[in-house]
Structures are given as structure tokens and as C-alpha cells.
């Protein structure tokens, strides 16, 4: 909402403070002022000029040499390129020394050899937005009325000696979508009175109801429809003041009839529509729901197809306007119009909003109907229109208003106790102060039995409940006056949940291992959504995606982490190690929401060890990735419940992929990126892992219990086995652990050898076995017996001890 202060001054006295201070006060007490715009933009030396004569420039077809009077006896030669400049016009002249918006400085100059002492200006050159300039002057200079005095300040004449406040309105304050609404707000802030426009006009002898009938077939959606008929209207340009107010409000002037409806729209916040009476043809207005597929050509010359829930104004036969949204071309006011029907109506906000969205037509009108106009201003606005059409367009207003009216115009009553207000605020505002604020707001208030009985004016549709009064009192009393306290009452025991604590541990382990935390998008492309997924389930897709890259919710974190790795490698990073904790989205649950499962994923690429001057360099490999995952399981106390088996995942290296199992259930993968994938992304050795964090963290349920530090020695024995090259050592370890001796405390692989000394396709794997009894020192014989059990189990399994 753009608020011209010149215009606002018509309704409320704001002379006591500067525009900046006014803006600050408005902002602090309720409505944010986004900008204070000086329409003059610091321009000087811009005066009225009279074009005495115009001649063609001798050397340039498109230029004219004008003699322009810019003060008594002060005639200057000015070259002008505008197509519409003519002798006899009053124009706007920027004299040498003038500064115009955009840093333009006017100097004496020669144009193609002819001297020019200034510039004849268009409104755009004075910083007026092109879309608000009247069409007649949109492509040329602006022409002033004949009575303009040469040499006088032109900025004042075109309304540019004005300050405009740009309000950032929240949806609840639709009351401030009008100059009067803003005036009431400012008056409340400054403790001033509001001066309402005085409405009086002479009426013709004829009665409007003899000209037109009004009915509505949808009274719920259109509880009030009023029509006024004005005859003998002379379509012309509006007076300058009116045009300039509209331009300051961001609206382009058209002609007096259209401008008057727009002026009242801005003044009262009540949208009006003007029909050409003769073009209506039927002497009748019927408001009804559209028929499915019914068509109307709107004012913008577009044919619109309507649906059965759209509300239309018809002449009893065909639509002549889309209610509250836009008029029809068939009943448009033109330069030939003589009799005008002014519509002032109340349309259901939801219906208008839906229709304007469907038609892609958001207008100043629809914006106001959507939020609900003031029921008590509809008829006032109609009268104001009649007055201005009579004053400014020479119209004769017919007697009476033709209307259907079932609109409830009673104000909302709110009953609230001062104690409640103070209790909510944590303050001690006196009853007198509360009453004073409510009076400033022009709320009808009565204090009785310790209660405030308040009838809020209907323009304030946002005032409905006690809390709304709390806000009104507080904002005008001043939020700075609210003290600072902390909640009282029973202290709650806060803290992280066990899961949240463990998730923080996961982050610490990953960061301790040297990984940076990444955060990537949950939305991805359909192609990547299921890639590398631990579980492939039905995907969750957006109804209306904004781009193909973000259509579907991810089922794996790996694709975006690989993208991040690739992004960094492309920027010359020779080592990237990232982790992410985030949700994946699986199928649909009973609640119709996908099942969200929190996962942990890592990506490692490039160098792992890079100790340059000591010459130690090592790339990441599978076991670096696995080591990090093992460290996590150690930290969570899950190591003994986790096993690894050879796995297979599309996009990962078939020989370097492991499934991670917790209590025998697959909860993750570790693997090298497939060479073909790496090539596509220009990545060197790259390893990834993804774990189901929910499953893992929820598996940690046991308390930490101390095991006594061993008092008796451990005894180790080694076993070396010859195995097929691809035989998993893990399987052998399981055999050893399963051999049935309680004394075996630990098994570790300490050497793996494949090479010359081995038969082709074979490898040697050496295990170190630790025997231990917490109660006593083991004898050699006991260890040998236990070890023999292991050897026997291995022999039974066919493993060849070297």
C-alpha cells in the first residue's frame, strides 16, 4: 500500500512530525513502513514552460527547435525530440543546472549544431513509474493544463512534491488498504481526529429504480448489491490533483469515471465498478453463479471460461463482469458513454480469491474483497462516487440507490477484563489508559462490572477475540513498556532424549574421524531418488515441482553427497570427506505420510593421508570407510552385534561392497563407487557408506557396566590358514569364535598375504587368538586344550592350517 502524505493530510493532521518520524511511529505501533519515498527525489530547477513556437531542427528529422517561455520575458531555445510537443502547450522544463532522477544533470548543450537550454520532460524523466503514467503521455512529454503559470514550480503541479509511505501490510490489517483506514491508524497513534469527506450533491428528478432492477441469486456470496445511476456524464481527463493522487498510489489514470472508482477504492477500500448503462441493454442486473463453461471477455480483452463456482454479474442474459475481479468488455465505459451505473457491492472473500486465482487476475479490487471489505462503507462509497461523478464529470445523479441488502453490519462485540489484559501482558496498565487507547482507536467501549464491553468498528475486521484487544492495548501503549520476565511455575525437566544424545555422539565420532558435516536437499530428481537406497520403496513426489532436479523425496543420502564430493573435486580439492545425517522418505504409512527414517551417510574421495614433505600419501580405500563405521559401532557399544557380508548395490563396485548387518539384519552398506560412475563424475577412488541411524541408535539400550581390569595374564596363540583368495576372513573368524571354548577372549586378523610364495588364487590369513580367564592364570595345558578345539573346528570346516 502506497500512502501519499499529501493525500493523507486531507483526513488527518500529521504536521506535528517529520515523514521519517511518522513512519517510525507507524512501524513501532503496528504497520511496518517499508520505505519513505520522496517523490521529488531531490529535483530542483524544474519549472512550467510555455511552448511559444516549434520548428523543425535543420539537421535532424526527429528533433524540434522550441522557443519556451519559462518566466516572464524569459524565453529559451530548447531542442525537444518528443513526438507530441506542440506550440501553445504548457510543459515541464528542466532548466540548466537541474538534477533529475538517475543522476541526470541538465546543461546547456548543442544538439546537431543548435543550442539547447534545458529539457522538456516526460513524467518518466521525473522518476514516475511508466506503468502509472496516463496512456496519452506514456510515450512523450507531459502536457500541463492551460492555466499553469510559466516559471512556477512544476513538481508541485504534477504532485511530485510529495512523500509516499510504502506500507508492508500483514493479511490481518486489510483495514489499512485504504487512505481512510491509514488515517484512523495514524489518528490513533497521534491522538488526532479523522476528518471524513463531506458527501453532498444535487440529485436529478428521475429515480434510479425506473432505470434499473437489481437482484441476486446468490445472497450468501453477495449479500449486498447497490447500484446508482448517473446520467449525462462527460467522459474526460480527471482533474490533475486526482490523477496525481492515483499515480502516487501506483494507479494509472484513464478517464474521470474510471479514475473516480479507483480513487474511492483507495480512499475507502471499497472496490466499485462502472458500467455503461446503455451497453447493459436490459435495464437489469442479476448476480448469479456462472454456468460451467460460460464465457466472458474481460476488460483486458481476454476471453475467460468460467466455472460453476465463479460469481458473475449479468444483465439477466449474459455476464457483464466477474464479481469483484474484473469487468466485462461488453459493458465497459468508453469515451461515448453518457449514462453510468455504479456498482458498490459486498462479495464473499473466499469466492473472489478462488476466482481471481483461477483466472490469474489479481487486482486491487480482488485483493480487497478477498480480505473482507467494511460492510458499513459499501453504501457510503456509492454515495461518494455519485458526488464525485456529479462534481468532476458533470453527471446528474438519479434519485435513490437500487439495492438488495441482507448484509449484517453490526460490529463484533468483544468483552474482556482489564485483569485479563494485564495478566496476558505481564503488565499493570490502568483502566484509564486502556480506555484512552480504545477511544483513540474509535472503538465503542463501555466499562462495567470490571469488564470492558467493546464494539470494534466494522472496518477492523481483525478484531474478534479478547486477545485482539490485548494486542491493540499493548501496541499503542508501547511494546517497549513490556517488562522482561521468565516463565514462572513448575520447573520442567528438559534435556535431550536418549536418541538425540546418541545422534550427537554420532556427529562427534564422524568429526573425530576427520569428516565435515554436509547438509543437502531432501528433494531430488526422480532419477536419483532411489539410487543406492538401502530399501527401495514407493517414492514421494511433489504435485507441482518447480524443476526436474527437485521432484521427489530422496531414499538415500548418497547421491547428493557424491554430488558434493564432485563439486569440491571440480574446485581442485584433492581430498573430500563428508558425512550427513538426514531423513529418507519411504513409501506411505497409514497416515498417508511416508515413513521417514533417519540415515547416516559418508563419502570419501581422493587422498586420505597426505603428509607432503615426509612423502606419505595414501588414497582412501574400502577399509578407511569401514574403519570409520567400525569406530562408530565401537563408540555405540554395538561392535559385537555387527557383522559384514559381501553385498551388491547398483552403482557400487561389485567386488568392493559390503552389507552391514546388526543382529543379522541389513542396516547399511559400505562400498566403492563403481569405476563407470566415477568416470562420469571425474572422481578418483571414492567410497561411500549409508547406515539406518534409527535402527542403530535404537539398538543401543543397555547401560554401561564396568568390567574389571584383568588381574590375570592373557595368553595368545597364532593360526595361519591357507584360503581361496575370495574366501571371507570373516567366515573363518566366525568358525573360530563358534568353536565352543569359553576361554577365547578375542580373535584378530594380523596378517594377510597373497603373492609369490602362495599358490595362485590362494591367500594366507593369520589370526591371533587371545585366551583368558578372569578368575585365574591359565595353565599351558588348558590353553592347549582350548586351542585344539579351535583347530578341530577349523579342520571340520575344511580350513587348511599352514
Amino acid at each position: 500500500m502506497l500512502v501519499s502524505l499529501n493525500w493523507l493530510k486531507q483526513y488527518v493532521n500529521i504536521d506535528s512530525l517529520s515523514p521519517e518520524d511518522l513512519a517510525e511511529k507507524i512501524t513501532r505501533s503496528g504497520i511496518e513502513v517499508d520505505a519513505v519515498i520522496d517523490r521529488s527525489q531531490g529535483m530542483t530547477n524544474v519549472v512550467v514552460g510555455y511552448v511559444v513556437s516549434k520548428e523543425k531542427h535543420p539537421d535532424a528529422d526527429k528533433l524540434n527547435v522550441c522557443q519556451v517561455e519559462v518566466g516572464e520575458g524569459d524565453v529559451r531555445q530548447i531542442i525537444c525530440g518528443a513526438p507530441n510537443v506542440e506550440a501553445g502547450q504548457k510543459v515541464i522544463v528542466a532548466l540548466p543546472g537541474a538534477r533529475l532522477p538517475g543522476g541526470v544533470k541538465i546543461k546547456k548543450a548543442k544538439m546537431r549544431g543548435v543550442e539547447s537550454n534545458g529539457m522538456i520532460c516526460s513524467l518518466q524523466e521525473l522518476g514516475v513509474e511508466g506503468r502509472t503514467v496516463p496512456k496519452a503521455y506514456a510515450d512523450g512529454i507531459y502536457v500541463l493544463p492551460e492555466d499553469a503559470v510559466p516559471g512556477s514550480n512544476a513538481l508541485e503541479l504534477v504532485g511530485l512534491s510529495d512523500i509516499v509511505l510504502e506500507l508492508g501490510l500483514t493479511p490481518n490489517r486489510s483495514d489499512a488498504l485504504s487512505m481512510l483506514g491509514v488515517a484512523y491508524e495514524v489518528a490513533a497513534i497521534l491522538s488526532e481526529e479523522v476528518k471524513l469527506p463531506e458527501i453532498n450533491y444535487a440529485t436529478a428528478s428521475e429515480s434510479a429504480e425506473n432505470f434499473i432492477k437489481v437482484s441476486t441469486e446468490a445472497p450468501e456470496l453477495n449479500p449486498l448489491y447497490a447500484a446508482k445511476v448517473i446520467k449525462n456524464v462527460k467522459i474526460a481527463e480527471s482533474p490533475l490533483w486526482l490523477q496525481h493522487y492515483l499515480m502516487a498510489a501506483g494507479i494509472r489514470p484513464h478517464n474521470n469515471v474510471v479514475d473516480i472508482t479507483n480513487y474511492i477504492l483507495m480512499e475507502y477500500g471499497q472496490p466499485l465498478h462502472a458500467f455503461d448503462y446503455d451497453a447493459l441493454k436490459t435495464n437489469e442486473i442479476v448476480v448469479r453463479l456462472a454456468k460451467d463453461g460460460e464465457k466472458i471477455v474481460t476488460l483486458d480483452d481476454q476471453e475467460r471460461t468460467l466455472q460453476a463456482h465463479n460469481l458473475v454479474i449479468t444483465n439477466g442474459i449474459e455476464p457483464v463482469a466477474v464479481a469483484g475481479v474484473m469487468g466485462g468488455a461488453n459493458s465497459e465505459v468508453t469515451s461515448d458513454t453518457t449514462t453510468v451505473v455504479i456498482e458498490a457491492a459486498y462479495f464473499d472473500g473466499f469466492t473472489v480469491r478462488r476466482t481471481s486465482k483461477e483466472l490469474g487476475l489479481r487486482s486491487d479490487s480482488s485483493a480487497r474483497f478477498e480480505k473482507g471489505v467494511d460492510p458499513n462503507r459499501v453504501l457510503v462509497a456509492a454515495e461518494r462516487a455519485a458526488q464525485l461523478l456529479s462534481e468532476l464529470a458533470g453527471g446528474e445523479v438519479l434519485q435513490g440507490t437500487v439495492l438488495v441488502d441482507q448484509l449484517d453490519k453490526t460490529p463484533t462485540r468483544v468483552v474482556v477484563s482489564p485483569d485479563f489484559i494485564n495478566a496476558r501482558l505481564g503488565m499493570k496498565i490502568s483502566l484509564e489508559d486502556m480506555l484512552s487507547i480504545l477511544h483513540r482507536l474509535q472503538f465503542d467501549v463501555e466499562a462495567a462490572n470490571g469488564l470492558l464491553i467493546i464494539d470494534a468498528p466494522t472496518r477492523r475486521q481483525d478484531i474478534k477475540i479478547e486477545e485482539d484487544i490485548v494486542e491493540e492495548i499493548a501496541r499503542l501503549y508501547g511494546y517497549d513498556e513490556i517488562p522482561m520476565t521468565l516463565p514462572e511455575g513448575a520447573v520442567t525437566i528438559g534435556g535431550l532424549t536418549s536418541y538425540q544424545e546418541k545422534r550427537r555422539v554420532v556427529r562427534n565420532v564422524m568429526e573425530g574421524a576427520g569428516l565435515l558435516q554436509a547438509v543437502t536437499y531432501s528433494l531430488t530428481s526422480a532419477e536419483l531418488a532411489q539410487k543406492f537406497a538401502l530399501k527401495v520403496e514407493e517414492t514421494t513426489k511433489l504435485l507441482m515441482p518447480m524443476s526436474e532436479e527437485r521432484t521427489t523425496l530422496r531414499q538415500s543420502l548418497i547421491p547428493h553427497l557424491i554430488e558434493a564430493a564432485s563439486y569440491n573435486v571440480a574446485r581442485k580439492a584433492d581430498s573430500v570427506s563428508l558425512y550427513e545425517v538426514g531423513s529418507v522418505f519411504l513409501g506411505q504409512t497409514e497416515e498417508e505420510l511416508p515413513y521417514e527414517e533417519e540415515h547416516l551417510a559418508i563419502v570419501l574421495t581422493g587422498k586420505w593421508v597426505d603428509n607432503q614433505w615426509q612423502g606419505e600419501k595414501r588414497s582412501v580405500d574400502f577399509f578407511v570407510a569401514k574403519g570409520i563405521i567400525e569406530a562408530l559401532f565401537d563408540k555405540l557399544g554395538l561392535t559385537e552385534r555387527v557383522t559384514y557380508e559381501k553385498g551388491s548395490v547398483d552403482g557400487l563396485h561389485p567386488g568392493q561392497t559390503a552389507n552391514v548387518l546388526l543382529d543379522g539384519h541389513k542396516i547399511g552398506i559400505i562400498g566403492g563407487l563403481h569405476p563407470a560412475e566415477r568416470k562420469k563424475l571425474d572422481l578418483k577412488e571414492t567410497f561411500v557408506a549409508e547406515l539406518n541411524l534409527y535402527a542403530i541408535l535404537n539398538a543401543v539400550t543397555d547401560a554401561l557396566v564396568y568390567t574389571p581390569v584383568p588381574r590375570f595374564p592373557e595368553i595368545s596363540r597364532d593360526i595361519a590358514l591357507e584360503l581361496d583368495r575370495l574366501k571371507p576372513a570373516g567366515e573363518i573368524e566366525s568358525i573360530i569364535r563358534g568353536a565352543g571354548t569359553k576361554l577365547l577372549k578375542d580373535v584378530k586378523v594380523f596378517d594377510v598375504y597373497e603373492g609369490e610364495k602362495m599358490e595362485a588364487g590362494k591367500k594366507s590369513v593369520a589370526f591371533s587368538l587371545t585366551y583368558f580367564d578372569p578368575e585365574r592364570t591359565l595353565t599351558d595345558e588348558e590353553v592347549t586344550n582350548a586351542h585344539n578345539k579351535v583347530l578341530k573346528a577349523l579342520a571340520e570346516a575344511g580350513a587348511e592350517v599352514r
Binding site: M484, P487, G489, G494, T520
Partner: protein, 345 residues
């Protein structure tokens, strides 16, 4: 014989002096003091002496032995000291060369901001509540006093999945869910999480971002409690000398609603680029929980009241660390993330 002894002593002492390492010294020791050495031989030959001469010679032999031994020990000590010095010299390094790199990872700056806020409120007895990123329209809007068709829904353009499900546009649905879960008991929660809006990604907009909301519901929760709590946030996140101010605003789920500004941490209020020359920076939105929201959550608004606030983690991080482009948080450039490992004073 005495002559011989003197001669031996001189010889031995000279050889000890000449020895350059422990091995040579040991040879000298064996040669002169050993069982087969000349001094032992001399001692063996003492039997031939007269009884008067024996003690005299015995004393003399012992003196010689002591001299030689003493000299040996001194020389050993000296050589050992030499050896240590040599070893130390050999082992000397250039201490200005860089150390062996230790990989140090760190949290993402958004997590850093979120955890800082979480920890602040954990210390004040709050719990951390979380919820799904894909939500029902009911929890995201309707339970928050935003029925279908409400004009304020335009404030948050939404990614819909179906007519009834969507990507949450704020973490407030977690508040709605928590109220139902707490069944009328007073509570204090912080809700951090990812949220989504239909925005094209640019320097100041992101279709996904991180929000931290807070909600307190209890008997007699006052707006002054909200203001005091917001003041703590401002001071914790932006410095102890920050001041706050509240401005009226509008959110459908709170009444009254406010926006909080903090005094500019860069210029202290005199005006600069960070505060757009106003001296104040808009930080967050907040308000007293709307009675409709309490009621839908199962709380009697006559008896209970509450306050809520919502913070954008990106906005805080951008202001606090001077990050100029919101997209940095999601490109995961390691040169960006790794800057956030250091601690702050």
C-alpha cells in the same frame, strides 16, 4: 718391582687417555686390571718378597689399581657423555617443519547455530521435539488456525504432495503434535528442523531451510515472559550488550504477534550496511499462542496460555558470520564448511 709398577701405571694411564671409545677402554681394563693382566701377575709375584716389603708393595699395587680404575671411570663417564651429545646432535630436527596432519572434521554451520540455540534452552529446562518433514495439511495449517482458503496461506507458498499432505513450511506442526501428545500438561519445547517453501534458490532464498521454533505452554504465561526469553536469545547469539525491541506483526497462530529486532551488533546502533542504516536488525517472529491453537491442541485457553517464537538458522548464521549467499549452506564446499570448526571468544 716398584719401578715396574710405576711404568705399568704410566702405560695404562696413557692408553686410557688415548682410548676413543668404550670398547678400547674395556680392552685397557682387561689388559691391565684383568686376571691375566700384569698387575695381577705382579701381585702373584709378591710371595717372593720379604715380609717387610709385602705390605708396602701391597699398598703400592692398590694405589696403582685405584689410580687406573679411577682414570678408567672418569674416561668412561666422559665417553658416555660424548656419546649422548653425539646422539642428540644426530637426532636434532627442524622444528619449524609442519607437523603430521591430523584430520579434524566439524559440524555444518547450520547445525552449529541450531545446537547453540538447543543448548541454551536445554539449560532452561526445555525439551527438543522433532517431527516429520512431510506433514499433513492439518498439522501444518489447520491446527495452527490456518483453515483452507485462509488468505495468510499466501504468506508461505507450499510444496504439496497430495491435497492433504505437503512438505512442512515451518516446524510449527511439531508444536501442534506436541500439544496433543502432552495431553494438557505444561511444557517447554524447542523444535529444530528442515522446512520448505516454493522459492527459486538465489542469494537470499532457498527452497529448503532450517528453522528453530520454541513453544512454552503453561498457566499464566505472559508476554513479558516471551520478551525476557527473546532477550536471552539475542544476548546469547549476538553478544551480551545487545538490546531488543518488539514490533507488532501478524501470524495466524499467535495473538498478539511480534517481530523482534536487535540493536545492530556491527555499529551498535549508529547505522551501517548490516542494519541498513536503521541501527536495528530483524531477527525473528514470535507471539502469544492463539487461543484457537491452544484449543485445537487440547488446552483450555481460559486456563492456559503460551508463547512461541521461530528463528531461521540461515538468517542467524548469515548475520552472525557475515555469510553473503544462502546457497553456501547447501553446496557443501569444504572451503566453506571447514571455516566453522574454530571456537569463538
Amino acid at each position: 718391582m716398584e719401578q715396574q709398577l710405576k711404568q705399568l701405571e704410566l702405560e695404562a694411564l696413557a692408553k686410557i687417555e688415548a682410548a676413543s671409545n668404550l670398547k678400547e677402554l674395556n680392552e685397557v681394563r682387561v689388559a691391565y686390571l684383568g686376571k691375566k693382566g700384569p698387575i695381577t701377575d705382579l701381585l702373584k709375584g709378591m710371595g717372593k718378597l720379604s715380609p717387610e716389603e709385602r705390605p708396602k708393595m701391597g699398598a703400592l699395587v692398590n694405589t696403582v689399581r685405584e689410580h687406573v680404575t679411577e682414570k678408567l671411570e672418569t674416561k668412561v663417564a666422559h665417553l658416555e657423555e660424548q656419546a649422548v651429545l653425539e646422539q642428540l646432535e644426530k637426532e636434532a630436527i627442524d622444528v619449524t617443519l609442519p607437523g603430521r596432519p591430523v584430520r579434524v572434521g566439524n559440524r555444518h554451520p547450520l547445525t552449529r547455530v541450531v545446537e547453540e540455540i538447543e543448548d541454551l534452552f536445554l539449560s532452561m529446562g526445555y525439551e527438543i521435539a522433532e517431527g516429520p518433514e512431510v506433514e499433513k495439511d492439518y498439522y501444518n495449517f489447520e491446527a495452527l488456525n490456518l483453515p483452507k482458503g485462509h488468505p495468510a496461506r499466501d504468506m508461505q507458498d507450499t510444496f504439496y504432495i497430495t491435497e492433504e499432505t505437503l512438505l512442512r513450511t515451518h516446524t510449527s506442526p511439531v508444536q501442534a503434535r506436541t500439544m496433543i501428545e502432552k495431553k494438557g500438561e505444561p511444557f517447554r519445547i524447542i523444535c529444530p528442523g528442515k522446512v520448505f517453501r516454493r522459492d527459486n534458490d538465489d542469494a537470499t532464498h532457498s527452497h529448503q531451510f532450517m528453522q528453530v521454533e520454541g513453544l512454552v505452554v503453561g498457566e499464566n504465561i505472559r508476554m513479558s515472559d516471551l520478551k525476557g526469553t527473546l532477550d536471552i536469545i539475542a544476548k546469547k547469539m549476538f553478544g551480551a550488550d545487545r538490546e531488543i525491541r518488539l514490533r507488532p506483526s501478524f501470524f495466524p497462530f499467535t495473538e498478539p504477534s511480534v517481530e523482534m529486532d536487535i540493536s545492530c551488533f556491527k555499529c551498535g546502533g549508529s547505522g551501517c550496511n548490516v542494519c541498513k542504516h536503521t541501527g536495528w536488525i530483524e531477527i525473528l517472529g514470535a507471539g502469544m499462542v492463539h487461543p484457537n491453537v491452544l484449543e485445537m491442541g487440547g488446552y483450555d485457553p481460559k486456563k492456559y496460555s503460551g508463547f512461541a517464537f521461530g528463528i531461521g538458522a540461515e538468517r542467524i548464521a548469515m548475520l552472525k558470520y557475515g555469510v553473503e549467499d544462502i546457497r553456501h549452506f547447501y553446496t557443501n564446499d569444504t572451503r566453506f564448511i571447514s571455516q566453522f570448526q574454530r571456537t569463538e571468544g
